[in-house]
Every structure is written in C-alpha cells, then in structure tokens.
Amino acid sequence: MLEVNNLVKSFGGLQVTKKVSFEVKKGEIFGIIGPNGAGKTTMFNQISGFIKPDSGSITFKGNSIEKRSPKDICKLGIGRTFQIAQPFPKMSVLENVMVGSLLRTKSINQAREKAKEVLDFVQLNVPYDTPSSNLTISDRKRLEVAKALATEPELILLDEVMAGLNQTGVKEFINLIFELKKRGTSVLIIEHIMEAMMTLSDRILVLNYGEEVLTGKPQEVANNPKVIEAYLGDEIHA
C-alpha cells in the first residue's frame, strides 16, 4: 500500500533520513521506533507532504506522492496526526472534526453526522460543543485522531498519540487501534511506549540517527542487540 524507497533528507548539514526504505501492507500495523531525534517525525512529514525529500521515492496505492502537497496526499487517503496536537482552538470539538469530514462531502449536515460518529468511535466523551481549547491532554490526543479519521484515510499515521497518557488511557488507545485494523485501515505508528508497540505492531522499523537499524517482527526487534545498543547509546549521549 505504502512504499518508501531510499528516502534521503537533510537539514543544513545534518542528514535526518539516510536511505530509508520500508513498506506498509494493506491492513497492517507498522511501527516505527527509535531514540529521540532519530528522524521519526521527519519521516512522517515526508510521507504526508509537509517536507519534500531530497531524493528517494514514496508510493501510495501506486501513485508517487513525494512531490505532492499535503492536501492531495490526504485526499488520496493518508491521514496524519501531529506529535503536538494541533486543534483549531476557537472551534468546538465537533467543528474540529467536521473540517476533516468535509473532505469527503459538501453537505454540512452529512459532515456533522460523520463527525459525531468519529467522535463516538474514539470515545471522546465530552459534549460536542466543548471548545477544543478546554480539553485535557488525553482528550486532545483523541481529538487529533478523530480529525485524521474523519478524512476517511486508508492509511493513518499516528505520531506518539499515547505519550503522556496513563495506563488505562494507553489500553483504550490500543483497543482503538486494533478496532481500526479490524475496519481495514492500515496504521503507521510512532510510539515510545514499548509494551504498546510490542502488542500492536505486525512489524517494526527501528531508526537511529536517520538510519534503518532493522525491520522485523516485534519479537525479533526486542531480542536484537543492535536495537538495545541504539537505545543505550542514546542514553549515554543524553
């Protein structure tokens, strides 16, 4: 479904993505992990069109998208969340999500119904007209996911949506993501919480300093010394 091939990106002199390649299959939950600054978010930014890669290709459902604009990529069926939630602060929760659902319909009423459905699905249990600036951190994350889901993506990119949540919150999110998978949505997910990644992911890509350390099943990744080294190395750095 999504193929990333030899992607390269540098900021100034710093190479943040070094010839990374991977593939996300339909209906798969694909995880990306790596220490802080490994280039995970930058990868998302390139897939979603916010940053143009220096070289390499990104193909989605057979279309090459590395030069497309964010809105075209979203239209093609890739939804994304931001690591730091980006609500429209003066709009209500419902209106926030409606912006997303209006991508697929012109009718305000249909968009509203769709938005309510999505809000219920992500279990954002606040009144629809709550100003989005009043939300708690975990509700903000849910809203972030709801907005992306409202665009009816076939592939959704989730950037640390569980960061800062408590145990129950994480569990709820894990169930939510499995539910998404059941509905046939492919998921590309970045997360620092290892247990979550181990349970969720079909396969995991480990990045370090913009480079692929390895790609494999959760079990392979967990037992690989190179991965441990990458994380330990980071701790020594810090």
Binding site: F50, P70, M91, E95, V99, G100, L103
Partner: protein
C-alpha cells in the same frame, strides 16, 4: 437559524425598507445611506480579513478600481454604471489575483505591510498613467438622473441601491460562513498546517474569499462614487479607505456576519455627526476617536461588539438552563 431570529430579521428588513418614508430629513437619509454602503464595503473586507484572517490593508486598490472603472466607462464611453460596475468588479478580481494572492504566503503582520504597499503602488501607477492621458485629475459625473445612469433625483434612489448592495453581500457572507468554504477558511485561519493535513485546499479557499472580497469592494466603490458624482485619485486610492473598512469590521466584530453592519451603524453616524457639528474648525476629531476605539477594542476585546453580545448570550443561556433544571420540580 431559529424561527424567532428569522422573524426578527424579516422585521428589521421591513423597517429598514420603510425608513426613507419615516425619515424625511435629507441629512439623516444621507447618513443612513452611508451606513448601508460602508456596512457593505466592510462586509466585503470581512470576507477576506475576518473569515479568512488575511488582514489586508490594500483594499483601497479594489475600491478605487471599481469607482474609476465605472466612472470612466460612463463619462467617456457612455456605458451605464450598472455594467461598468460589473466590469470594475472583475477588474478588481484580476488585480487582486496579481497582487494579494502571491502575498498569501506571508504571515499576518508582513501580509499587512505588503498589502499597504500594493495599495500605494496601484495609486502611484494610476496617477502616473492618468498623466499620460487627457483624463483630468478630478472627474465629475454630469447630473443626469435616470435609472440606467444610476443617478437619482433625491436620496431615496441611492438608499435603495445601497440597501440591495448590502443585502446581497450579507446573504453571500451568511452563505459562505455556513458552507464548506466557511469551515475551511476558519480552519486555515486558526491553524494553516493542521488544515492542510486534513486536506483543506488552503490556497483555493483563500482565493475564493479574495475574489468575493475584491469584487464587492469594487462594487461598493461604484455605488459611492455615483452618490458623490465626483472622483479623484487621492481619495479613491487613499490608504485610509482600507483602514476604515478594517476598523468598521473590527469594532463591530471581525469574522462575524453581523459585525461589519453593527460597526457601520455605530461609526458612520458618529463620524458624520462629529463632522457636521465641528465642520472646518475641528477637523479630524472623529478620526481621533476612531483611532482610540480601534486601539481599545483590539487590546481589550478583539472580538468587538459581537464578542460582547455572544458572551452575554452565553451567560443568559446558562442562567436559563439552571432555571429550567429547577423548574421540573414545581411542574412535576
């Protein structure tokens, strides 16, 4: 919109339509007409400045283009201002596309700076090219009342033309605000990146807002010049027009449909009566007041009068809800 609101609006409409018959005084009627035109102009500005959040200070260019196009077409080629008005509108849209559209990639304050400059460039270029022609500095439109000439004998005609103008732009504002485009504009105003991530066509949406805004600002230019029957570059392309349109919208409530109307209802009579009271001796008094009002509003209450009204309504609603919760006891 609920029934009560609808009824109130229709009532307001009928009263406004009858006003010229109630007010026999020419001066008051003139002020009232100004209120309508400026409310329409400010509403046009508001579609770009308020709905899309692009704080243009170059709208004087569109105003001047509208006013001049219809006037020159009428005076030199005998083309009816009704047609000239539309030509001016389309010309303004073309100019807006060349000038403001590329400026959209600049952030707020810089957008304001570059749009002021664009307004100035258009004025300078206009003055320059006028010198190369035989068109005099000030152009007077001959007083030949007829509907086709958009010249009327008496204030009544202007009143109704302005009324229809305002009505059209208000209906369009309302439609835009409550459509997909309105949602998109609101989203890109609040967070451009997040909007793009949701597939909002940010450029196309801004362009639509710009086109509507420029078109109706130009139309307002024609209506105003037909009212005065005189035009000159310094006043038609004056930077203060852009500022005034923004000011009216902001005081009334930027980004709302009713805001510009409320702003015009307050500011225009204020300005006109101060001007009439202190004609000549104390120039600029109303503008001093405008300046102070603008500062106070943006610093203390950037949502303007509409902001007050909506927060007041919310409080009242809450109160009513509390009361309702207590009522069932009694009824039950």
């Amino acid at each position: 919109m609920n029934k009560q609101k609808k009824g109130m609006l229709i009532g307001l409409l009928i009263v406004t339509l009858l006003l010229p018959y109630l007010i026999q005084n020419e001066f008051y009627l003139h002020v009232l007409t100004s209120v309508l035109v400026y409310a329409g102009l400010a509403s046009s500005w508001n579609i770009l400045g308020g709905f899309a959040g692009q704080l243009s200070l170059g709208h004087t260019a569109f105003f001047g283009i509208g006013a001049y196009t219809s006037t020159l077409l009428y005076v030199y080629l005998g083309i009816s201002p009704w047609i000239g008005m539309l030509v001016g509108g389309f010309l303004a849209v073309i100019v807006s596309f060349i000038t403001l559209y590329p400026s959209f990639r600049l952030r707020g304050v810089f957008f304001a700076m570059v749009t002021i400059s664009f307004g100035e460039v258009i004025r300078i270029l206009f003055v320059y090219f006028r010198n190369k022609t035989t068109i005099p500095y000030g152009v007077t439109i001959n007083y030949e009342p007829s509907f086709t000439n958009m010249i009327f004998d008496g204030p009544m005609g202007y009143f109704y033309v302005s009324f229809v103008y305002l009505l059209i732009i208000l209906v369009i504002s309302w439609k835009v605000k409550n459509s997909r485009l309105g949602f998109f504009l609101n989203a890109l105003k609040e967070n451009d990146e997040a909007a793009q991530a949701l597939g909002v066509p940010t450029s196309a949406s801004k362009f639509k807002a710009l086109a509507i805004s420029a078109f109706f600002t130009a139309i307002g230019g024609t209506i105003l010049v037909q009212n005065i029957l005189y035009i000159e570059p310094e006043s038609a392309f004056s930077t203060s027009i852009s500022t005034e349109l923004a000011l009216i919208s902001i005081i009334g409530g930027i980004g709302t449909v009713a805001g510009p109307v409320i702003g015009a209802i307050i500011l225009i009579p204020l300005g006109e009566s101060l001007r009439a009271l202190f004609s000549g001796s104390v120039q600029g008094l109303h503008l001093v007041l405008y300046g102070v009002l603008l500062m106070v509003v943006v610093l203390k209450n950037p949502n303007g009068i509409m902001g007050f009204i909506s927060s007041f309504n919310k409080k009242r609603k809450k109160k009513r809800e509390v009361q309702l919760e207590e009522v069932p006891d009694v009824r039950g």
